[in-house]
C-alpha cells in the first residue's frame, strides 16, 4: 500500500504529532536505515503523497518496564542495632576463605579479562601447521632492531554498532534530517545506582525539591532526636540496680564520694557491705546499750511521760519497796506511752520516713528502685473526679447541638428566613414569566418546572415540598434528623421588585448560583 519513497519535506507537521514515539524511534535506529514514518492505513486520510511504511518495529507496542531493585539491601535495625538485610532472604556472601572448594578457581577464571587485539592471520584448519607463527628467520637477517612491546596487546576493539546517522552519502535532498543520534551518556551517580541496584534514595537528590512549609528538624514535635550517647533504643540504657541507684543518690547528697559519675559495681558492693556492717554495728551498739542500762532506761526513750528514775538501782529499790518486778514496772511505764510514740518505737508507721536518704531521693530514682505507683504509673492516669465525661450517646455520629451554630457562623447553612428572603428576591423574574403566561401556568400543573411551582406556592401560600427539597439539597442531614425544621411553614415571599438594599444583599452572594448545579435547569 505504501510506497517506499520518502518524502520528508512534504510530510505535514501534523504527521509527527501522531507518533509520540517518533523521536524515540529516530534515535534508536541503526545506521543506514533511514527512519521512516509509521504508515497508517489508507483510510485514515487521503494524502497527496504516499504513506511511508516504517520498518517492522514494534517498539511502540512494547511497554518497557524496568524493575528496579530496592534502594537498599541492608539497613540498620532499630531494635538490634545491627545491619539487617532488607529482604531477609539470605545472609551476605561469605569471604573467600569460606568458599567451597573450587569456587575460587572458577571465580578467577571468570574474572580473567578477555584477550584483546585483532589477528592479522587467519587459521588454516590443520592444513598448514605453523602458518601463524611469525617467521623470524627473514626478519632477523634484516638486522633491524625490532622494538619490544612487553605490554599486553591492544585493548579490545570496540565494535561500532551504531554509527551516526549522518547520511553522508545521501545525494538526494529528499531525506529528512533527523536528529542526530543521541549520544549515550554514561549514567553516573544516582542513575547508575538505580540501574545497578546499589542503595540509593528514593528520589534523585539532584531533582529533589524540599517540601515547602516544613519546619526545621528541631521544631518538629515528632522529631526523633538521637540520644546523645548514641544508643539505639532506650532499652540499652543502664539498668538500675537498687544498690547502684541508692549509692548514686547517696553520692548526690554528698554522703559518699564516688570516683566517677556512676557508681561502679565495685563501689556498689563496697558500700553495700559497708552499710550492712554499719547497720550491724549499730544494732549491736543498741543491744549493748540495752544490756548496759537495762530495759527500763532503754525504753524510756520512747516514753516521754515517764519521768521517774530508770536506773537499775531505782528499779531494784522499787522492787524491794513494792514487790513489782522489772516487767511490771515496764508495763506500767508503757501505759504512759502515747500511741504515736508507740508507732515511732515500733517503726511501723509508714508516714514516718525511716530513712532520711529516701526522703532526699529523686522521684525518678525512687521509681527505679521501688517502682512507681502500680495503679497510676504516670500522671496521665490520674483522673479528675469532677470531670465531665464525654458520654457519647447512640446518635454519636450526629453533630453536637453546637455544630449548628458553628455552621451558621461560617455561613455553611442559612436559616429558613434567609432562604426565603433569597427566594423572594428571585421572585421578580418569575413574576414576569407568570404574568405573561398566566393562563398557561394555571392550566398545567404537572410539577415539572420548579420555578412555576414556586409561583404557585406563592400564590397559594402553601407549603411546598420543593422548597424543602431545595433546602434539603442545599443543607445536609441536619434537616433530616430534626423533624422540627421539616415542619416549618414557608414564610411569605416578598413581592415586588427588589429594593436597592436587597440587591446589594443579593450581590454579595453572586456566586451562589454557581454552586447550585442542580438548581439550574
Amino acid at each position: 500500500m505504501a510506497s517506499n519513497s520518502i518524502h520528508s519535506n512534504l510530510l505535514p507537521k501534523s504527521a509527527f504529532n501522531h507518533f509520540q514515539t517518533s523521536s524515540y524511534l529516530v534515535g534508536s535506529f541503526p545506521a543506514g536505515i533511514l527512519q521512516v514514518r509509521v504508515g497508517f492505513s489508507n483510510s485514515r486520510r487521503v494524502p497527496s503523497y504516499s504513506c511511508i511504511k516504517c520498518e517492522k518495529k514494534d517498539d511502540h507496542n512494547i511497554e518497557h518496564v524496568s524493575v528496579e531493585r530496592p534502594p537498599y539491601y541492608s539497613y540498620m535495625d532499630s531494635t538490634s542495632g545491627q545491619l539487617e538485610p532488607a529482604s531477609g532472604a539470605r545472609a551476605s556472601v561469605p569471604e573467600q576463605e569460606y568458599w567451597p572448594e573450587g569456587t575460587a578457581s572458577q571465580v578467577r577464571a571468570a574474572r580473567a579479562p578477555l584477550p584483546g587485539g585483532e589477528s592479522s592471520s587467519s587459521p588454516s584448519y590443520g592444513s598448514q601447521p605453523g602458518s601463524r607463527r611469525k617467521n623470524y628467520k627473514t626478519a632477523a637477517a634484516s638486522s633491524s632492531s625490532i622494538h619490544v612491546e612487553s605490554s599486553d596487546p591492544a585493548p579490545s576493539d570496540e565494535a561500532s554498532l551504531v554509527e551516526s546517522t549522518e547520511d553522508a552519502q545521501d545525494s538526494t535532498s529528499e531525506f529528512v534530517v533527523y536528529q542526530s543520534e543521541p549520544e549515550e551518556e554514561e549514567e553516573a551517580g544516582y542513575d547508575l545506582d538505580k540501574k545497578i541496584g546499589n542503595p540509593h534514595p528514593f528520589i534523585d537528590p539532584r531533582v529533589k525539591k524540599k517540601i515547602e512549609g516544613t519546619l526545621p528538624e528541631e521544631e518538629l514535635w515528632w522529631n526523633w532526636k538521637k540520644p546523645e550517647k548514641e544508643q539505639w533504643s532506650r532499652w540499652q540504657r543502664r539498668k538500675p540496680d537498687a544498690d547502684t541507684v541508692f549509692l548514686k543518690a547517696m553520692a548526690e547528697t554528698g554522703q559518699v564520694k564516688l570516683y566517677g559519675e556512676h557508681p561502679t559495681l565495685t563501689e556498689t558492693s563496697l558500700y553495700r557491705a559497708r552499710r550492712h556492717l554499719y547497720k550491724e554495728e549499730r544494732l549491736q551498739a543498741e543491744e549493748d546499750r540495752l544490756e548496759e542500762i537495762g530495759p527500763m532506761a532503754y525504753y524510756s526513750e520512747w516514753v516521754k511521760a515517764w519521768k521517774g528514775d530508770t536506773s537499775r538501782e531505782a528499779i531494784q529499790k522499787h522492787f524491794e519497796e513494792t514487790g513489782e518486778d522489772e516487767t511490771a514496772q515496764l508495763i506500767e511505764m508503757f501505759s504512759h506511752q502515747t500511741d504515736r510514740e508507740y508507732r515511732v518505737m515500733m517503726g511501723t508507721d509508714v508516714r514516718i520516713k525511716r530513712d532520711p536518704l529516701a526522703m532526699r531521693m529523686k522521684e525518678e530514682q525512687i521509681k527505679q528502685i521501688w517502682g512507681g505507683d502500680p495503679v497510676y504509673p504516670t500522671v496521665n492516669y490520674i483522673q479528675d473526679p469532677n470531670e465531665v465525661i464525654d458520654y457519647r450517646g447512640p446518635d454519636f455520629h450526629e453533630p453536637t447541638p453546637n455544630m449548628l451554630a458553628y455552621l451558621m457562623e461560617h455561613g455553611h447553612i442559612i436559616t429558613r428566613e434567609e432562604l426565603n428572603t433569597i427566594l423572594a428576591k428571585e421572585k421578580p423574574e418569575q413574576h414576569v414569566v407568570t404574568d405573561v403566561d398566566e393562563a398557561m401556568a394555571k392550566a398545567v400543573d404537572i410539577g415539572e418546572n420548579d420555578d412555576e411551582e414556586d409561583s404557585d406556592v406563592e400564590d397559594e401560600e402553601e407549603r411546598e415540598e420543593e422548597e424543602e427539597e431545595e433546602k434539603i439539597t442545599r443543607n445536609w442531614s441536619v434537616l433530616k434528623s430534626t423533624p422540627e425544621l421539616r415542619q416549618s411553614k414557608p414564610k411569605p415571599k416578598k413581592d415586588g421588585p427588589m429594593s436597592l438594599d436587597e440587591a446589594i444583599d443579593d450581590s454579595e452572594n453572586l456566586t451562589d448560583f454557581l454552586m447550585d448545579f442542580g438548581e439550574e435547569e
Binding site: 578477555l114 587485539g117 601447521p129 601463524r132 628467520k137 632477523a140 622494538h147 619490544v148 612487553s150
Partner: protein, 483 residues
C-alpha cells in the same frame, strides 16, 4: 629494558648482572675477544640456562637485548582461541622471539608461600593417550569410527607412544571443529621444527656425535617405516590425507616427541599415566632451574601451570619448567631437539685414574647440596662471581673424584690429577673436527640455516663449550687449592 642495540654479531655480549630476562647459557662471544676474558664477562647470575625446546619455542639467543627487543607479543588469536574454550592465563603472556614462542610474566609476582597458578588448560583441549593398555578410557581421544583407530591400536603403547600421539595429532588436524586445527597454526612448522627427525644426513653428521646420529637415524627410520606401513597406496583416503608425505608424518612425530607431557592424571577415581599434548603448556621453555611446574587439577580436570612457591618473578621473566630432569644433552637433543651448554647433568666420560678431591672442588666453587642436587650457593660466593653455572655443576658430577671423609687432599697430587684431566679434555676437544670458535663462526655465517642444522651445530658447540668450561674450572680449582 634492553638497550636497543643493533643486531650486530660483534656486540652480543653483556656482562650485565642486572639481567632480568631469561638468562641464557649459550653465549655468543665476539670472535675477537680472548678465550679467558670472555668467560669472565660471563653474565647472568643464575646457573640456570633457559634453553628452549626448539620445537616449541625455539632456542632463544642469549643476547639480552636480542631477547628483549625481538620479543613480540604473539598473535592475539593464540590466546583467544583458548580463552573461548575456557583456558586461562593469569599474569602471563605469550611472546614470540626469533627462536619461537615463550611464556613471559606480564607483571611482578612477589614470592608467595603457595604456588600460584599462571595457566590452566581444560582437558577438552588436550590430546591424550594412555600409556598402558587398554586404550579405552577417558580422557583418551579415541577416534572410534576412523580407520586411524586401528592403526593406533596396532602399535605397542610401551614403545610407540610417539607414533600413537603423532597419529592422534594428525587425526585432530583433520577433525572438524577440533581445537588443534586452530592451534596447529601456532606449532612450529616443518621448517621451523628443530627435531632431528627431520634432519638430513649431513645435518646429522654435523652433530659430530656418532652415537646420537645413529640414534636419530634409527628413529627416523622407524617413523618412516611406520608411515610406509600404514600410509601405503591403498590406504583409505581418510588416512591418506592425514599425512600425504612422510615428511609431514615425521614432523608430527617430532612434535609429539618434543611436546609430549607425561602426566599421571586422575579422572574421577581412575589414575592413569597418559601422554598428553597440552596446548598452551607446551609453549613453556625448558630450564634447569625452572620457576614453574605442572599440576593436574582433577576437580575440574584442568592442567595447571604453577609458579614455584617462593619464586620472585619480575615482569618479563620467562616461565620455564623442567622437561626432563637428570639427563645429559644427548637425551635432550634426541627427545626435544635442543641442547644446553650448562646442563648440570651432562656427562663426560673420563678414562684413566686421575681423581680430584671432591670436597675441595665443591668448596672452591661454592657448590653445595647433595650429589643429586648440586647447586651454586650464592650466599657463600663472593658477589659478582658468575663463573659457576650449570656446566661447573656438571663438572662436579662427572669429573672423577674421590672423597674419603676428612682425609685432606695433597696439593701436588691434586694438581697432577688436574693436569691429567685437563689433558684428557683437551684430547677430547681435539678429536672434534672443529673448535668451538669455528662453530660459532659457522653459526654466525649462516643466518638462514635450516633449524635442524642450527640445532646440530649448536649441539656440538655446546658440547665443546662444556668441555672448555671443565678445563677452565679445573684451572681455577688448581689455582685455588689451599696449601
Amino acid at each position: 629494558m634492553a638497550s636497543p642495540l643493533l643486531h650486530q654479531p660483534t656486540q652480543f655480549f653483556f656482562s650485565n648482572t642486572q639481567l632480568k630476562g631469561p638468562s641464557h647459557g649459550f653465549l655468543w662471544r665476539p670472535p675477537c675477544s680472548s678465550f679467558g676474558a670472555s668467560h669472565s664477562e660471563n653474565k647472568a647470575r643464575p646457573i640456570r640456562a633457559s634453553v628452549d625446546a626448539p620445537t616449541f619455542p625455539l632456542f632463544q639467543t642469549p643476547k639480552q637485548h636480542d631477547s628483549a627487543s625481538e620479543l613480540e607479543p604473539a598473535d592475539p588469536d593464540f590466546y583467544k582461541i583458548g580463552y573461548v574454550r575456557s583456558m586461562r592465563a593469569y599474569g602471563v603472556e605469550f611472546k614470540e622471539g626469533p627462536d619461537g614462542f615463550g611464556v613471559y610474566a606480564s607483571k611482578d609476582v612477589e614470592p608467595l608461600r603457595r604456588a600460584r597458578v599462571i595457566m590452566e588448560i581444560p582437558l577438552e583441549l588436550m590430546l591424550t593417550i594412555s600409556k598402558k593398555l587398554p586404550w579405552m578410557f577417558f580422557p583418551d581421544i579415541i577416534p572410534i569410527g576412523h580407520p586411524i583407530f586401528d592403526i593406533i591400536n596396532s602399535t605397542d603403547p610401551e614403545t610407540d607412544w610417539d607414533l600413537r600421539l603423532a597419529c592422534l595429532l594428525l587425526y585432530a588436524f583433520d577433525c572438524e571443529d577440533n581445537f588443534w586445527q586452530l592451534y596447529g597454526d601456532f606449532l612450529p612448522s616443518a621448517d621451523e621444527c628443530t627435531s632431528l627427525l627431520l634432519a638430513s644426513e649431513d645435518e646429522l653428521s654435523e652433530l659430530q656425535d656418532p652415537d646420537l646420529a645413529s640414534t636419530m637415524r634409527n628413529q627416523q627410520y622407524r617413523a618412516q617405516e611406520f608411515w610406509e606401513m600404514n600410509w601405503h597406496n591403498s590406504a583409505p583416503l581418510k588416512i591418506k590425507r592425514l599425512a600425504r608425505d612422510p615428511r609431514r608424518f615425521l614432523w608430527a612425530v617430532g612434535i609429539a616427541q618434543s611436546r609430549c607431557i607425561n602426566m599421571q592424571t586422575r579422572i574421577g577415581a581412575l589414575t592413569q599415566d597418559a601422554n598428553m599434548l597440552i596446548p598452551y603448556a607446551d609453549m613453556l621453555n625448558h630450564s634447569f632451574e625452572p620457576n614453574c611446574f605442572l599440576h593436574w587439577r582433577f576437580k575440574d580436570r584442568m592442567l595447571e601451570v604453577l609458579i614455584n612457591a617462593g619464586e620472585q618473578i619480575k615482569r618479563g621473566d620467562e616461565m620455564t619448567i623442567n622437561y626432563m630432569s637428570g639427563q645429559k644433552n644427548e637425551i635432550l637433543m634426541q627427545r626435544y631437539g635442543f641442547s644446553s651448554p650448562v646442563n648440570p647433568w651432562d656427562v663426560i666420560k673420563f678414562s684413566g685414574n686421575a681423581k680430584i678431591h671432591l670436597d675441595s672442588f665443591l668448596s672452591v666453587f661454592n657448590i653445595s647440596g647433595l650429589p643429586e642436587e648440586y647447586y651454586h650457593n650464592k650466599c657463600l660466593a663472593i658477589d659478582g662471581d658468575t663463573f659457576v653455572d650449570g656446566a661447573v655443576v656438571a663438572a662436579a658430577r662427572t669429573l672423577p673424584t674421590w672423597s674419603d671423609k676428612d682425609v685432606p687432599p695433597i696439593p701436588s697430587a691434586e694438581r697432577m690429577a688436574v693436569k691429567e684431566l685437563q689433558q684428557e679434555c683437551r684430547q677430547m676437544l681435539a678429536q672434534y673436527a672443529t673448535t668451538s670458535k669455528q662453530d660459532e663462526k659457522l653459526l654466525d655465517s649462516l643466518p638462514n640455516a635450516p633449524r635442524t642444522l642450527e640445532a646440530a651445530i649448536k649441539y656440538r658447540l655446546h658440547r665443546k663449550l662444556f668441555i672448555e668450561k671443565v678445563i677452565q674450572a679445573l684451572e681455577i680449582y688448581q689455582d685455588k687449592i689451599l696449601f
